[in-house]
């Protein structure tokens, strides 16, 4: 299966380990990735605060590029997924709006025909590839490992733009993958809540308090690690956990895995290749427990 690959800015910037782990597991799953070097940032919901039409136009531009390639888009970022889904939802339900967007794209010789259906790797796994295929590729099951899912808001809400009515399996996708990997799901109400990243530069105290809450909650439930399909959640839950520990005045030391890293571990890929040494919160105890050194 071949997809137009939209890794998102963070997988190319602050989380290079996500990019490399995703490429490795996609290779094994038989997912071919066609890069789109001319695609822009989705706007991450921030640009949309200032100018939603501009944000939708930039996303339509990316969709048009994928249409020209004759491929559907795959991303590895919950935020990119959510922002693209919301833009697509607005354009597809309103042909006049789409025509206005296309007028802006015409200068570059692009037109978005409305056929894009961007999917996060998590959705590609459960909807297009199938968990049976993933099961076949598991050589090092994560038996005895307790993993706490953390989705990222944009992969959960708003449900209409994310097409949850037609795809209820998306609401439990992460748990399904965790079970397929042989690990045990740690269930808690924080799994679909906010990591705090969007207000990091605006109200750091609150942002860090959210990190402290979620990481402490899963720690108390005996989790070995959290697993997230969102690199922005990763940046906050991992990078700001030292501050969260100071704020909450307790040791948490919770490793935060990117979705493809957890899958890669179960596929027998090495700690180094998955970039697990690049985290702020050590993943060493976890990889030792898994038998990955």
């Amino acid at each position: 299966m071949k997809y137009a690959f939209f890794p998102g800015c963070v997988a190319r910037g602050g989380c290079p380990e996500l990019y490399q782990a995703a490429k490795l597991i996609c290779q094994r799953l038989g997912i071919e990735l066609q890069e789109m070097p001319g695609a822009s940032c989705t706007g991450a919901g921030v640009l949309q605060e200032k100018n939603e039409f501009l944000g939708d136009t930039l996303n339509a531009r990316t969709f048009a590029m994928a249409e020209d390639l004759g491929m559907q888009i795959m991303t590895i970022c919950s935020t990119c997924q959510g922002v693209m889904s919301q833009a697509n939802f607005r354009m597809r339900k309103d042909p006049e709006y789409l025509a206005r967007v296309n007028k802006e794209l015409a200068e570059e010789g692009l037109e978005y025909k409305g056929t894009a259906d961007p999917k996060h790797l998590l959705w590609v796994l459960i909807e297009d590839i199938g968990l049976e295929k993933l099961t076949e590729l598991i050589t090092r099951p994560l038996a005895g490992i307790r993993l706490a899912p953390f989705y990222g808001c944009y992969l959960i809400r708003p449900t209409d733009a994310l097409d949850m009515a037609d795809h209820p399996e998306r609401l439990t996708a992460l748990e399904q993958v965790i079970e397929t990997l042989g690990a045990t799901v740690v269930d808690y109400s924080g799994k679909t809540r906010c990591c705090g990243f969007p207000i990091l530069t605006i109200n750091e105290t609150n942002s860090v308090a959210m990190v402290a809450k979620h990481t402490s909650d899963v720690k108390d439930l005996g989790a070995d690690a959290m697993i997230t399909p969102c690199p922005l959640c990763h940046l906050n839950l991992d990078g700001y956990q030292p501050k969260a520990q100071a704020q909450a005045n307790r040791k948490i030391e919770m490793p935060i895995l990117h979705l493809p890293q957890a899958i890669g571990l179960a596929m027998g890929i090495s700690r180094q290749e998955l970039g697990l040494q690049k985290h702020i919160m050590s993943t060493k105890a976890l990889t030792l427990k898994v038998g990955a050194g």
Binding site: G14, K50, L58, C153, R157
Partner: protein
């Protein structure tokens, strides 16, 4: 339909009060709502169960509570749609606000915040000779926000209020928008400058994480988060750009408009302001940790291919030529 209703209970009048779960088996007909189930339990099994309810038709906003972990109106939720694989429905009091007894919470925090935004028209322009006139068109977009029934569902599930009770919160900010967007409020052009000046302060519009919980929780389509985004747009249009939030949004547009993708090393610097030395210093430990773990975003940021096309789009749509 045989259902188990699992209720989070709390009685403040016992010695050492603590909340606990209690399960009630109840037989319901297929069209029963969650509120029907709760009333049936109270009338037939346990008269000590406390809850608020009145209209039973999603108008009064009394019966907001958490149903299977998410806030909503018990009277608007069909029991059949709320049961899990074991025919169980999990009921808890609304979040954020302190519990008085069982499913009854103290709304003081909710009302304090509504009062804080002064929820009444404050015209500041010249007084008209007769009544203030607002055209139908100018009021249409307010119809969804005036539909708020003050049930507190959005406040219950707000991820910011959960960690910081000083945040104005979704209900009050949506209410504030109801006035800033009203052509009769503010100056003769309908710009509510003073309100917006207050709302850009810390604990106001920029503290929202955009998590979308309030939109999911609202039973009336008020979509508080979308109103908060509209407030941000109004504030920036009114020239209120000297806040971390506004700088963050503007820096984001500048960076994407220049290189086509996000420069993570530059964004926080531009967002806190290049002259804000304490703000910049606060990033140092995090930056250093990232650097030593090989996670530092590249300092030399590469542009996307054919970036000139994105630059053109951003420039045109950010500064549209005057007709």
């Amino acid at each position: 339909m045989d259902v188990t209703v699992r209720i989070r209970r709390y009685d403040p009048e016992v010695e050492n009060p603590e909340s606990y779960w209690q399960d009630y088996p109840v037989a319901l007909d297929g069209s029963a709502t969650v509120l029907d189930a709760l009333i049936k339990i109270r009338e037939e099994q346990d008269g000590t169960l406390s809850l608020r309810c009145s209209c039973r038709s999603s108008i009064c906003g009394s019966c907001a509570m958490r149903i299977n972990g998410h806030a909503g109106l018990a009277c608007k939720t069909q029991a059949a749609s709320a049961i899990d694989g074991n025919n169980t429905i999990v009921i808890e009091p609304a979040g954020v606000m302190p519990v008085v007894k069982d499913l009854v919470v103290d709304f003081s925090l909710f009302w304090d915040k509504i009062r804080q935004v002064e929820p009444y028209l404050q015209p500041q322009g010249e007084q008209p000779e007769a009544e203030y006139i607002a055209s139908n068109e100018s009021m249409l977009h307010l119809s969804s926000v005036t539909a708020c029934i003050m049930c507190g569902s959005c406040v219950s599930d707000c991820t910011v209020l959960e960690v910081d009770p000083t945040f104005l919160g979704p209900a009050a900010l949506a209410k504030a928008y109801r006035f800033t967007a009203d052509p009769r409020d503010g100056d003769s052009n309908g710009v509510s400058q003073e309100r917006l000046e207050q709302l850009v302060e810390p604990t106001g519009m920029w503290d929202c994480t955009r998590c979308g919980e309030c939109v999911a929780a609202c039973p009336k389509g008020v979509d508080p988060m979308d109103r908060i985004m509209a407030l941000r747009d109004q504030a920036m249009s009114a020239g209120l750009n000297n806040s971390n939030g506004a700088r963050h949004a503007e820096a984001f547009v500048d960076i994407v408009g220049h290189s086509g993708s996000l420069n993570e090393a530059l964004l926080p610097v531009k967002a806190v302001g290049i002259t804000n030395v304490p703000g910049l210093i606060s990033f140092l430990p995090v930056g250093l940790r990232a650097l030593t773990h090989g996670k530092m975003p590249p300092l030399i940021h590469h542009n996307i291919e054919n970036v000139k096309n994105v630059r053109k789009l951003v420039k045109k749509l950010e500064d549209p030529p005057l007709d």
